[in-house]
C-alpha cells in the first residue's frame, strides 16, 4: 500500500489527475491501443473460425506487430492511468478482473499461435512457420480468445463505475 501511495503522489500522477486534458488524452490513447490489440486479435480469431478464408494466416502473422504496438500503447497509457488512481485501483474488483483478462488474453494468443503452427516445429528461412493448420483445438482457442478480450473490454468499462459509483452519471 505504501508503494501505491508513493506512486500516486508522484508529480506525473498528479498531472494526469489534475490537468484538463491529461486524463482524456490518455483514455484516447488507450482506445487507439484497444483498436490495435483487440481489433487484430478479433480478426485473427474470426479468420481461424472460418471468416475471410482468402486471407493467409501467414499474412496475419506478419501483421501482428500492429497488435504489439497497440499493446505497448495500452501498457504505457494504462500505467499512467493506474498511477493517477493507484490507491483506489488496487482494491477495485473490476480493475483486478480486467488485468486478469489481459494476462489471460496474452496466454491465449500464445496458445493460439502455438496451435496454428503445430508447436512451431517447422520454420522456414525467415523464421516463420512454413504452414499453418487450423485444428479443432485452434478453433476452440479462438472462441476463448474472443470471450477473454470481450471480458477485458467489459471489466475495463466497469472500473470507473466501481471507483466512483457513478452509474447514474452516465459518464463516458
Amino acid at each position: 500500500m505504501d508503494f501505491v501511495a508513493w506512486l500516486q503522489a508522484l508529480p506525473l500522477s498528479e498531472w494526469v489527475q489534475t490537468s484538463d486534458y491529461g486524463f482524456p488524452l490518455l483514455l484516447a490513447a488507450h482506445s487507439i491501443g484497444l483498436a490495435g490489440v483487440v481489433g487484430m486479435m478479433v480478426v485473427l480469431d474470426l479468420r481461424v473460425l472460418g471468416l475471410a478464408e482468402g486471407i493467409p494466416i501467414a499474412a496475419l502473422s506478419r501483421l501482428m506487430p500492429v497488435a504489439w504496438w497497440g499493446f505497448a500503447i495500452n501498457a504505457l497509457s494504462g500505467i499512467l492511468l493506474f498511477m493517477a488512481n493507484a490507491t483506489r485501483l488496487v482494491t477495485n474488483w473490476a480493475f483486478i478482473l480486467k488485468m486478469s483478462a489481459v494476462v489471460l488474453g496474452g496466454i491465449v494468443s500464445w496458445l493460439l499461435w502455438r496451435s496454428l503452427t503445430g508447436h512451431a516445429a517447422a520454420a522456414n528461412g525467415r523464421g516463420e512457420p512454413a504452414t499453418f493448420t487450423i485444428t479443432r483445438n485452434a478453433r476452440i482457442i479462438a472462441v476463448i480468445s474472443l470471450l477473454v478480450w470481450f471480458g477485458a473490454i467489459l471489466f475495463g468499462r466497469v472500473i470507473a463505475y466501481v471507483m466512483d459509483h457513478a452509474i447514474l452519471h452516465g459518464g463516458g
Partner: protein, 161 residues
C-alpha cells in the same frame, strides 16, 4: 424547428426514456459501444492496411470479406450512440468534441461510400500483390485517419463538459 426543440424531441423518444429508465442501461451501452469499436477497427485496420499495399500476400478481395464485421461494429455503435444522445441530447449536441466526432463519422462514411460505389468491384478482383491505384491508397489512408480521429474525438467529449 429550433435546435432546442430537436433536443427535446430526442430526449422524449422511447429510446431516451429507455436509456434513463435504469442506471445500468447506459453502462451496458458503453460496453457494447467499445465492443463495436474493436470489431469496426479490427476489420478497418486489416482492410486499409491491405488497400495501402502493406500486406502484399493478402488478396484485396479477401480483406474486403471482413466488411460485414466492420458494418456489424458500426451498426452496434450507431444504435448505442443514438441511445447515448437521446439520454441527454443537450449534453452531447452542444459538446464541440461530439460535434467533431459526428463530422468525422460523416466524412468516414462518405469515403467508404465512394470506395464502395467507385472502386470496390474492381479492387475485389485484384490478385494479392497487385499495385493498387493511388486513389484507392489515398482513400484507405483517409479512412484510417478519420476512424482513429473518431476514437480520439469521442474520448475528448468528457474534456469539454
Amino acid at each position: 424547428m429550433h435546435l432546442a426543440d430537436l433536443f427535446t424531441a430526442a430526449h422524449d423518444t422511447w429510446l431516451g426514456v429507455f436509456a434513463r429508465s435504469n442506471p445500468y442501461i447506459y453502462t451496458i451501452g458503453l460496453i457494447v459501444h467499445f465492443t463495436g469499436l474493436a470489431l469496426l477497427m479490427g476489420a478497418i485496420l486489416l482492410i486499409d492496411i491491405t488497400l495501402l499495399g502493406f500486406a502484399r500476400t493478402i488478396p484485396p478481395g479477401a480483406a474486403l470479406k471482413l466488411l460485414p464485421v466492420a458494418i456489424l461494429g458500426f451498426v452496434l455503435n450507431l444504435l448505442t450512440g443514438v441511445m447515448f444522445f437521446c439520454f441527454d441530447p443537450e449534453r452531447f449536441g452542444l459538446n464541440p468534441a461530439f460535434q467533431v466526432k459526428m463530422l468525422l463519422v460523416l466524412l468516414a462514411g462518405l469515403n467508404a461510400l465512394w470506395f464502395t460505389l467507385a472502386e470496390h468491384r474492381e479492387v475485389a478482383h485484384l490478385p494479392a500483390g497487385a499495385t493498387l491505384a493511388l486513389k484507392v491508397r489515398i482513400s484507405a489512408a483517409i479512412s484510417l485517419t478519420l476512424w482513429f480521429g473518431v476514437i480520439v474525438a469521442g474520448r475528448m467529449i468528457v474534456a469539454f463538459q
